[in-house]
């Protein structure tokens, strides 16, 4: 803490702080969001289902959808999306993904093994494919994802 009695130290110290701040600020913000802490880049998946719930939340929105498995059984999956403002810039609002909307998601499965994933891209009923993922360190859309429906 700088006090008036230490004025002599003030100028060079503040300069040092400024430089330090610049250095820290320029490094990649990996600590901010760790995709790999929760999701597995080695388990790409593709899921097609019907929206049950879409929660617009900062910093990560969530989409829940009912997915019919090959055996006909329906499970509810949750997928992490990006921040509401970024989604809106890409044309996705709470009104775009209302309950009952059909959507296809390409992404990566959660490490926990539960029915959760990270959505890299979402394909809407009108054919638009939108990059809905918000993590800076997430891998790109998988080329050969395992299809959960087939």
């Amino acid at each position: 803490m700088l006090t008036t009695s230490r004025n002599k130290l003030k100028k060079p110290f503040v300069g040092l702080l400024a430089i330090a701040g610049l250095v820290v600020g320029l490094s990649p913000a990996n600590a901010h969001h760790a995709f790999s802490a929760e999701f597995d880049a080695g388990q790409p998946i593709e899921v097609k289902g019907v929206v049950t719930k879409f929660e617009l939340v900062n910093p990560h929105s969530w989409l829940y959808l009912d997915v019919k498995g090959p055996d006909g059984k329906v499970t509810n999956w949750g997928f992490e999306f990006g921040a509401p403002f970024n989604l809106k810039e890409k044309g996705i609002t709470k009104q775009t993904l209302t309950a009952g909307t059909e959507v296809t998601i390409k992404g990566y499965r959660a490490k926990s093994g539960k029915d959760f994933g990270y959505a890299v891209t979402s394909t809407l009923p009108d054919g638009r494919t939108v990059q809905t993922g918000g993590a800076q360190d997430a891998p790109a859309a998988p080329n050969a994802p395992a299809a959960v429906n087939k």
Binding site: V57, K88, Q95
Partner: protein, 270 residues
């Protein structure tokens, strides 16, 4: 004393002074009743009542909005629900019962989550209102919650811009000295109390905030939620101003308590 009154006809003699005294008394009593509550309540420079200060309810609503007898985890309460019963839809009532049974673990407040609206108003911890002409900001001691009630004649955001907010979006306007607030666009993650009373993301609340006297606010709210209740219903609590010397909020953020044991990190990971 010699006055002209003595020269008046007999039937009017003695009428003047007592009448004047009575009239003055009556008028002053009437004007007292009109003026007392009005004059003394704090006001902003624009004349609107100023709710700034630290407030807290003394009700036991947090332990259950409906009337309830005591439990090991709750004092008894006469309830704050008008009509005593929350009008749940049948399926919602089943959910409420499940919530009640699992309240020790499932209550989001136990996990330190935001209390939401209106639970933050009657939760037994203080909140501080910072008010200016264009908004009120309510800072709750519990959790890191700050709710802004916009009083600048703006409406809720358009449907393209709404999120699922923990504290909703609140827009207020004045009806004389009552602040009327419309709040909606909530998520479904908060409860209304520790007894498992809950709502969905369709919750819509209309609040009335009004001074009873400079140190007391009457708070009324109407809740409606088509997914959970069969009709709108009302609650009412009284908020008291904290007047202890140097009283201030003290941070009460529970979410990180379980993680405190890991900090500072121990070098040998033991």
């Amino acid at each position: 004393m010699k006055t002209n009154l003595n020269n008046r006809p007999t039937q009017f003699r003695g009428f003047g002074l007592p009448f004047l005294l009575v009239a003055t008394f009556v008028i002053s009593v009437l004007s007292m009743n009109l003026a007392v509550a009005d004059e003394k309540i704090p006001r902003l420079s624009n004349g609107k009542p100023d709710f700034s200060g630290i407030w807290q309810s003394t009700s036991a609503a947090e332990y259950g909005l409906e009337p309830h007898s005591n439990r090991k985890d709750a004092p008894p309460s006469a309830g704050i629900v008008e009509g005593n019963v929350i009008p749940y839809l049948p399926q919602a009532l089943e959910q409420k019962k499940k919530n009640f049974e699992n309240r020790a673990t499932d209550d989001p407040a136990v996990k330190g989550y935001t209390l939401g609206v209106p639970r933050g108003v009657y939760y037994p911890e203080p909140f501080q209102i910072f008010q200016r002409a264009r908004d009120l900001n309510i800072v709750h001691q519990f959790g890191h919650s700050v709710r802004t009630i916009h009083t600048n004649d703006t409406d809720h955001p358009s449907l393209d811009d709404v999120n699922d907010w923990w504290l909703g979006d609140s827009r207020g306007h004045w009806e004389n000295d009552t602040l009327v607030v419309d709040a909606k666009y909530f998520n479904d993650k908060t409860w209304l109390d520790h007894a498992g009373d809950f709502h969905s993301d369709a919750l819509h609340i209309v609040e009335h905030w009004k001074f009873i006297d400079p140190n007391t606010i009457e708070y009324k709210a109407t809740l409606d939620d088509a997914k959970v209740y069969s009709r709108p219903w009302n609650i009412s609590v009284i908020l008291h101003r904290h007047r202890e010397k140097n009283f201030q909020l003290i941070e009460d953020y529970r979410y990180t308590l379980d993680y405190d044991q890991y900090y500072p990190p121990k070098p040998d990971k033991k």
